[in-house]
Amino acid sequence: MPRITFDGISKSFGDTQVLDPFDADIADGEFLVLLGPSGCGKSTLLRMIAGLTDITSGTLLFDDVPVNHADVRKRDIAFVFQSYALYPQMTVRQNIAFPLLMDRMSGWQHLPILSTLIRARLMRDERVRSQVNGLAEQLGLTAYLDRRPGALSGGQRQRVALARSLVRDPSLYLLDEPLSNLDAKLRIQMRTDIAALHREVGKTFVYVTHDQIEAMTMATKIIVMDGGKIQQIGTPDDIYDRPANTTVARFVGSPPMNLVDLSSGDQQWRQSLRRSYGDGTVVGFRPENVRIVPSGAGIMPGTVETVERTGPESIVAITLDGHADSRTYARVPNDMTPSPAERVSLDIDMSSSSFFDSVTGERTELPVTA
């Protein structure tokens, strides 16, 4: 049950830096989500933790012990692949039992032919049987134990992959976008199941996803990555309420945080905001912190573009005056929705807003004056 320390870890393939050096410390039992768009280096980082990819520089420590060169098999990890990587020629039972067999076999027993016999014997072993059966029951796979992965649905395969990783009771679980191949309904259910599993086993999980909802619902800690850089490390609330920069702000939340750059434009409302918050500032605010008020009453005037009902509430897209190329979103109760093309004004709770430097995009802490 390790505490994971990243000490200046970085990765490059040839001349291309895919992950800039960074430091982080992940406590034991944490559910860490590596979140970012595809190609941001999050899978690479996960593979580095697993030992499947070399670490270019820096030190990776499990409980303060450097493991840079430790073999994958020594790290006591489970890894659930995006594609599940089930062994197609083996039955579900054999797939799940495989790690158990490998744990029990010594060097010479892996010799061809001999290994076949020994594996056959181990498959009949009572402890192996009960472990596999128990896990299968827990994950609802009992009926499929003698099928091959090819004959299973996506959700079933996913559970087999999970079962295979659980069977050894490792101290670290690594999951690489395990839900991305499932349909929406199943995904929500599995999300809950995995989160429950984490609470149950109490081990450290590292989970890679590009889906920020998965991240927000499951994580105890999130590392947001983009373009090979660590953008922010924090709890889901930190990430959501206090994004470290505009990249994180734009990535997390659906719709994401609205960003209004005050550095240009000469409308009157801009000029007055500039006076309050400085002229190199980007104001960021969540759609739920926006109130739509009649034109002339709020802080930012604009025109309603679309109204999208999501059930209990609606998402209203507004084009701010002098801001034609981007939309600003508001999340409002259904009974308060304006009509498209209506002139409105936005009233914003500045105390819950974030402020960023318009040049660097970094978060700046400003005293709220308005």
């Binding site: 200046g8 970085s10 050096p21 070399d54 520089s57 030190t59 450097p66 060169h69």
Partner: protein, 309 residues
């Protein structure tokens, strides 16, 4: 806490690490490549040297250095162009015929009909018959006065043909036999490719009203084209190396009309005992083959780029 270990990591440690990761493929390849190196690659390099000497079969390692004289003689003589032309005709002929018949056979066998597997087995058998045995039975069948082929022709009211002793029939005969042996391989590989044509696509095109031929042309053919292309290059290489069939049937005759490069090399090196000249022919042949292969690979790469763009 451990200190940051980027650039300060001891050199020795880094070497060990890169060796560990970098050496695996080398270790895997070492065995096979030492083996190939001893058996093929080194002898090949020797051939380059021998082609620059006047080595004879009786003194293979003690030829006298004669520079490019062998090449000058070979390239200025009238024999080589004929040999190269024969090689081209033989290669193209066997490849085209084997591909056409093989693909057709695969399409036929891929249909569902009674006795399908028997037909497949019969069509596939020639591949398994050793070349020498195959050439011998054809030799007997091609016999002008006693051969079953001429008997068939005569039964049809045609004159018998001197298959192995007249132009252009000798070339036709060796191409036919070579293709006969190659068709099963083409058929089997194409069959596998056909089996992997997605059924929905084929069905969809039929539902869309495409005629059978259209389905083949627009759906099936593009799907098996990469396979056919690969088969073509394999067949070309095979034809460039094929020796036993011609050696048994015509020995390169008549009037050198089936004298391909392999036969010519064999003649120079073993009949005339001119190892140097034989090596020269071999090097010329290899050079041409490599140029063609490189051209093929370049085309392939360009095609790939076009497709991914």
């Amino acid at each position: 806490m451990t200190a940051r270990a980027d650039a300060k990591e001891p050199l020795r440690l880094r070497l060990v690490r890169s060796a560990r990761n970098g050496m695996t493929p080398v270790m895997l390849l070492a065995g096979p490549f030492i083996f190939l190196g001893v058996m093929i690659i080194w002898p090949l390099i020797e051939q380059v040297w021998i082609s620059l000497t006047d080595a004879r079969l009786t003194n293979p390692s003690a030829g006298e250095f004669v520079g490019l004289q062998n090449y000058a003689t070979a390239l200025s003589g009238s024999a080589l162009p004929r040999v190269l032309l024969n090689t081209m005709v033989y290669t193209v002929g066997t490849t085209v015929i084997a591909l056409v018949i093989g693909v057709l056979a695969a399409v036929v066998v891929n249909m569902k009909f009674a006795g399908n597997s028997v037909v497949k087995a019969i069509l596939a058998t020639p591949w398994a018959i050793p070349s020498v045995a195959a050439a011998l039975i054809w030799l007997w069948m091609f016999s002008q006065s006693r051969g079953v082929i001429n008997r068939g022709l005569e039964a049809l009211g045609q004159d018998g043909i001197a298959w192995l002793t007249s132009e252009p029939w000798a070339m036709v005969a060796v191409i036919a036999v070579t293709a006969w042996q190659a068709v099963p391989f083409v058929m089997l590989v194409t069959l596998a490719a056909l089996k992997s044509v997605p059924q929905e696509t084929a069905e969809a095109s039929r539902i869309d009203g495409a005629p059978r031929l259209g389905t083949f042309q627009w759906v099936i053919w593009p799907h098996i084209l990469p396979t056919v292309r690969l088969l073509a290059i394999l067949q070309v290489i095979e034809a460039l190396r094929k020796w036993d069939i011609i050696a048994v049937l015509t020995q390169g005759g008549p009037v050198n009309s089936t004298n391909t490069l392999v036969i010519a090399i064999q003649r120079q090196a073993f009949e005339y005992q001119q190892l140097g000249m034989g090596a020269t022919y071999a090097i010329i042949g290899i050079t041409i083959a490599i140029v063609f292969t490189l051209a093929y690979l370049l085309l392939e790469r360009r095609e790939e780029k076009k497709n991914t763009r």
